[in-house]
């Protein structure tokens, strides 16, 4: 930055990419200076990933030019991009878990003493690199045994080892815990101090404001504008992203709790490798109440949610729904008792991607009236129902015959939510219901959750987003290594206690902190 008008490291001019009738990128301009963190902000489907895939040679633009270090260039493939010193780190890491760090780093590269694999020289070079950029790592550690945050570091080193001076990071914080995010940001700052440039793709306003030098906002394939951080605010960016005033604060009407709907007693389970995944879990949820389950990802939330839907076998304790013991019953019994589960994995489990919208909407009720009678489908009824639901839930599709594979993440989530809510739940379990969704869809989902609460549905909300948990929950339980560390009221003033519990302190021993 610095004010002087040097030649930018990267300049994209009028980049256009068309898929069928959809202009994924429409005349987009972007420039990245040396030593800059440039955020690319936008809702899902705004064209961020398409633009970066063009830069990385995965797509070829239908129009526009790419200038690297002042020179016009063409990028034909990822291999080509690497040769031109561009590195990309995908949201889902491309690492071999059973290989060591150094083996992963040299994967696919020629080494000095071909055809012998000279890992020692590579390890030495890797150590030099990690010292230079302050990325501490053991080159011989097995990647699969490393925490996610460190694996990400391996991905960055992989790119640096290949000589990248422009790093593209696609939603890098989605997989990190809050603590890891902070140390990750420190790494980014060290990298730009060494002269690297970074493009940071995100839809999280706070992070973008926190880390970037400049921010470019995309909306519906077009560039809305570029702002230096000093001129950006949360609200302004949100407006640019969605094109309208967004209400970031939700109104939660006072609690009107009814009877106990879900009663979990001493629940324990083991995962496949024999490790105890749930340890003596105990809680209840009442009708009209939202119980939030907070915690860093991977502390047993998944197993808990699955156990409550009949998808995870438990070894001890009990699950009662409206007084009926459903412990270790099959999923259909849970469904019959009004347990609806919006799960985190939309793509392979929550939806049948090759089915169209109509078909997905009746996934749980394909046997029942009015969709089927004596085993024969009522196709007209299914279509009518699809039309009604698509309209009511504002699912943006041409019609119900569109395969859900073609829908954006937000619209896919709306399909799931519509299906579960229309099933008339007594207990609604939601797992990361807004993960990967844009602001508009997030707001929509949260409103719908509160609507169900107002209708007297018992809601169990599992999320790693603390603001989401606090905005929606009447009570918050925190999970750590398969245990519930404590349950506190869902108020912002509980934040400190929740954070401590997330790190493994139990509420009972926490005498020092008072709300």
């Amino acid at each position: 930055m610095g004010g002087e008008r040097s030649v930018p490291l990267l300049e994209l001019k009028h980049i256009t990419k068309v898929f069928g009738d959809l202009k994924a990128n429409d005349q987009i301009d972007l420039d990245v200076q040396r030593g800059e963190i440039h955020a690319l902000l936008g809702e899902n489907g705004a064209g961020k990933t398409t633009l970066m895939n063009i830069l990385y040679g995965l797509y070829h633009p239908d129009g526009g030019e790419i200038f690297l270090r002042g020179e016009l260039t063409k990028i034909h493939s990822p291999r080509d991009a690497i040769r031109q010193h561009i590195g990309m780190i995908h949201q889902h890491f491309m690492l071999v878990p059973t290989f060591s760090v150094v083996e992963n780093v040299v994967l696919g590269l020629p080494v000095e003493r071909e055809p012998l694999l000279d890992l020692r020289t590579a390890a030495r070079r890797l150590s030099e690199l990690s010292a230079q950029y302050g990325l501490q790592i053991d080159p011989n550690a097995l990647v699969g045994s490393l925490p996610v945050g460190v694996q990400q570091r391996v991905e960055i080193l992989k790119a640096l080892y290949r000589g990248a001076d422009l790093l593209v990071l696609d939603e890098p914080t989605a997989v990190l815990s809050p603590l890891e995010v902070e140390s990750f940001f420190q790494v980014l700052r060290q990298l730009v101090q060494q002269g690297l440039s970074i493009i940071f793709i995100s839809h999280k306003l706070d992070e973008v404001l926190h880390i970037s030098d400049r921010i470019t906002v995309l909306r519906r394939g077009k560039k809305v504008g570029t702002l230096p951080r000093s001129e950006a605010t949360n609200r302004k960016l949100a407006e640019m992203m969605v094109g309208r005033e967004v209400f970031l604060d939700l109104q939660r009407p006072p609690l009107q709790a009814g009877d106990v709907v879900l009663d979990v007693q001493q629940l324990s389970s083991k995962s496949e490798n024999g490790i105890q995944s749930l340890k003596v879990i105990q809680f209840t949820v009442q009708a009209g109440e939202v119980l939030g389950i907070a915690g860093v990802d991977g502390n047993g939330q998944q197993q808990l949610a699955e156990a409550l839907a009949g998808l995870h076998h438990t070894v001890g304790g009990s699950i009662c729904v409206q007084g009926v013991d459903l412990t270790n019953r099959p999923p259909e019994d849970f469904i019959r008792r009004g347990v609806c589960y919006v799960l985190a994995d939309r793509q392979t489990t929550g939806l049948v991607l090759d089915f169209n919208v109509d078909e997905n909407l009746i996934l749980k009720r394909c046997d029942r009236q009015p969709f089927a009678r004596r085993g024969v489908l009522n196709l007209g009824g299914i279509r009518e129902y699809g039309q009604k639901v698509i309209h009511e839930y504002d699912i943006r599709v041409e019609d119900g015959r569109t395969p859900v594979r073609q829908l954006s993440g937000g619209n896919q989530q709306k399909v799931i939510l519509a299906r579960e809510i229309e099933d008339g739940p007594k207990l609604l379990i939601l797992m990361h219901p807004t993960r990967g969704l844009d602001i508009g869809a997030t707001e929509y989902v949260r409103q719908r959750v509160l609507e169900q609460r107002a209708r007297g549905v018992a809601v169990l909300l599992v999320s790693t987003e603390l603001d989401e948990i606090l905005a929606l929950s009447d009570r918050v339980a925190v999970m750590f290594r398969g245990e519930i560390m404590g349950i506190v009221p869902g108020n912002a003033d509980q934040l400190e206690r929740i954070s401590h519990m997330m790190l493994g302190e139990s509420l009972e021993t926490m005498t020092g902190i008072n709300p």
């Binding site: 589960y341 089915f355 394909c366 024969v376």
Partner: protein, 376 residues
């Protein structure tokens, strides 16, 4: 994707549909031509005149009414088995066991067929076909159960069951069901089926038998099952994503077992109809690999009943023509088999290659580790 023109007029729709149909047929037909080209080179190599051979092939397919009848006769078991396989494929089960299911079905159907119970013809035929259906169905359902309940790869289990079925028929035709076991010139086959169980001929001057109606009826039934019943819906859901089906409360094991039962049942009918309508008696090794060709037919037909009928006729024509090539042009039968195999292979590849979802599906089917992971 976002906004297609919302309303198209009927003529445009029909034209598009026809264009789509022609487009879908183009690749397999091109593959047939390429395959025949390779065959011509092969024949040239061993000193057979390919022009003469292909003239014989063409005459065998379209030389006259009788030949057309033969094509359809050959197509009957291919269509029936292909229909069955297409249902299993849609349910995500790669049933390679059509051949064994044909043998087991034929065994049961023949046993009913050779009984002289004095039943009226319709009753006897129905009973025999039903026996074939049950036997083939149970044979396949067993593999389906192993797959759904214990994650035992169906590709392997159905292939192994093929061997068992073929050897069982061998045993019965050599032993308990052998015709005239004490005669000097006894062959390994059963006695002829009763007159009352024979499928009547339905087209004068040809050998086309009533099995063609059974095949067409089966196509209609399978179409209805796949697209108009909640069971068919569940089978497709399980095929696309078993975890999603389980999560939605479907009884995946039951769906897979039933789909395999129907699938094998149709192969069983195919075997029975072949005996009752053409061969009259069950012989050791009586099927020329129909169950394997039917895999290609289901894939080429896009697992759609109409596609399966068309593909069945195409492959039936190929078989009839090939036989004629051997009989009239003196091409050695092994070379005929090689040419046939090359053509079938190319047709299957051309269709799979064009169809991305089919490719994706096949890839997932053929990677057992990933499959196991998908089922947890």
């Amino acid at each position: 994707m976002m906004q297609e023109n919302p309303k198209k007029s009927w003529p445009v729709k029909i034209l598009q549909w026809l264009a789509g149909g022609v487009d879908a047929l183009l690749a397999p037909l091109a593959a047939v031509l390429v395959g025949l080209g390779i065959g011509a080179a092969l024949m040239q190599l061993i000193g057979v005149n390919p022009m003469k051979a292909y003239e014989a092939l063409w005459m065998g397919v379209a030389g006259g009414k009788y030949q057309v009848g033969i094509v359809l006769v050959k197509a009957i078991p291919l269509i029936l088995t292909g229909l069955g396989l297409s249902l299993a494929f849609r349910c995500g089960v790669f049933n390679i066991g059509g051949e064994g299911q044909i043998y087991i079905g034929a065994l049961a159907g023949t046993w009913v067929g050779i009984q002289e119970w004095g039943l009226p013809q319709t009753a006897h035929i129905t009973l025999a076909l039903l026996a074939g259906f049950l036997a083939g169905g149970l044979w396949a359902a067993f593999a389906g159960y192993l797959r759904a309940r214990f994650q035992i790869n169906e590709i392997i289990s159905t292939i192994l069951l093929n061997y068992i079925a073929i050897y069982l028929v061998s045993y019965f035709t050599h032993g308990p069901m052998r015709d005239n076991p004490n005669a000097a010139a006894s062959l390994p086959h059963t006695p002829e089926v009763a007159l009352s169980s024979r499928l009547p001929l339905v087209w004068q001057g040809t050998r086309l038998h009533a099995g063609i109606f059974v095949a067409l009826l089966a196509a209609a039934v399978i179409y209805f099952i796949i697209f108009h019943t909640s069971f068919g819906y569940k089978a497709r859901a399980v095929g696309f994503s078993a975890p999603a089906a389980r999560y939605a409360g479907m009884r995946v094991v039951w769906v897979v077992v039933l789909a395999m039962f129907i699938s094998g049942g149709l192969a069983g009918i195919a075997g029975t109809a072949e005996i009752l309508g053409v061969q009259r008696r069950l012989r050791d090794l009586f099927s020329p690999g129909t169950g394997y060709t039917a895999i290609a037919i289901a894939l080429v037909g896009g697992n759609h009943p109409i596609g399966v009928i068309l593909a069945g006729i195409l492959f039936g024509a190929l078989e009839a023509g090939a036989n004629n090539m051997e009989a009239l042009a003196g091409v050695p039968s092994t070379i005929v088999s090689v040419i046939q195999a090359v053509v079938i292979f190319l047709v299957a590849v051309s269709v799979v290659w064009r169809n991305r979802s089919l490719r994706r599906w096949l890839a997932s089917r053929l990677r057992p580790a990933e499959e196991a992971a998908a089922h947890e």
